[in-house]
Amino acid sequence: MDQAAFSDMFGTIIDNTPYMKAIGAVYDGRSDDGLTMRLPWREDLVGDPETRVIASGVVTALLDNGSGMAVWDRLNEFKPIATLDLRIDYMRAAEPDRDLLVTAKCYKLTRSIGFVRAFAYEDTPDDPVAAAQAAFIIASPSLTPKG
């Protein structure tokens, strides 16, 4: 499948993921560094009322979702996948009133597992808010409903 068609589908997928729609996340394109999602800052997503910093749980969701899509991007097809584990390091607070970006890349794909590295940041992944390491299981015949 060509890249443009793939990009269109990621936008559609996010728009059809109720929780991503609820927090206001959008697809922001792909490059050699991986694919990117964007989340505008919003009052009701704040986790610390004193600093108006977005809740870590929101960053987690964005990293999880972006990582899963990175596996599809690498697979170049939409097989059912599930997050096995997700490890996130929070380096610093996200800046209030600014868009948060997540770029995720599946750096290794085996027949059954996708390994992903992802970063959350405002300007550049070199100055991350958070970093994630995730492993996804890719549907094997046993996961497919028998019909």
Binding site: P18, Y19, L45, V46, G57, A61, D64
Partner: protein, 147 residues
């Protein structure tokens, strides 16, 4: 010097109620989570809501919802066992997804494994119909400043 410090030491400790803390956090309201307190035992509840869905086809709760809910539960438990004047900052989280989250209410309980002077280690389990069949486990470190 001793005389200046003395009143501070004898001042009654104002421990914040986890329920009040949660009410002050906009994102906890966005998720719609509740706390059931029985003495020092805390069970967090996440009532099912359509905006929490990640995969509408299965349908399943978004993995990011489950982890955010568990992170908030860990924080609430910390507020129950320690005295804080600020929201503790997460350093890292590690999540293992064990079962898909069905579109029903989710529960979680946290254990503070250790709360030292700077770092607290907390683990959380989340379940739905059966507590013996957890849907996810989370391990996290918080940066705390007990003042």
């Amino acid at each position: 010097m001793t005389q200046d410090i003395a009143p501070a030491l004898t001042r009654p400790i104002e421990r914040l109620n986890p329920e009040d803390v949660l009410k002050a956090i906009p994102f906890a309201g966005f998720l719609g989570m509740r706390l059931d307190l029985a003495g020092d035992e805390l069970t967090a509840r996440l009532p099912y809501a359509p905006h929490l869905i990640g995969n509408p086809m299965i349908p399943a709760l978004h993995g990011g919802v489950i982890s955010a809910f568990m992170e908030m539960t860990a924080m609430a438990q910390l507020f129950l066992s320690e005295t804080f004047h600020h929201v503790p900052k997460p350093i890292d989280v590690s999540i293992q997804y064990l079962r898909s989250g069905r579109p029903v209410d989710t529960f979680a309980r946290a254990i503070v494994n250790r709360a030292g002077r700077t770092v607290a280690n907390v683990e959380v389990q989340a379940w739905q119909e059966q507590r013996s069949q957890p849907i996810a486990k989370l391990q996290t470190h918080f940066l705390i400043s007990v003042d």
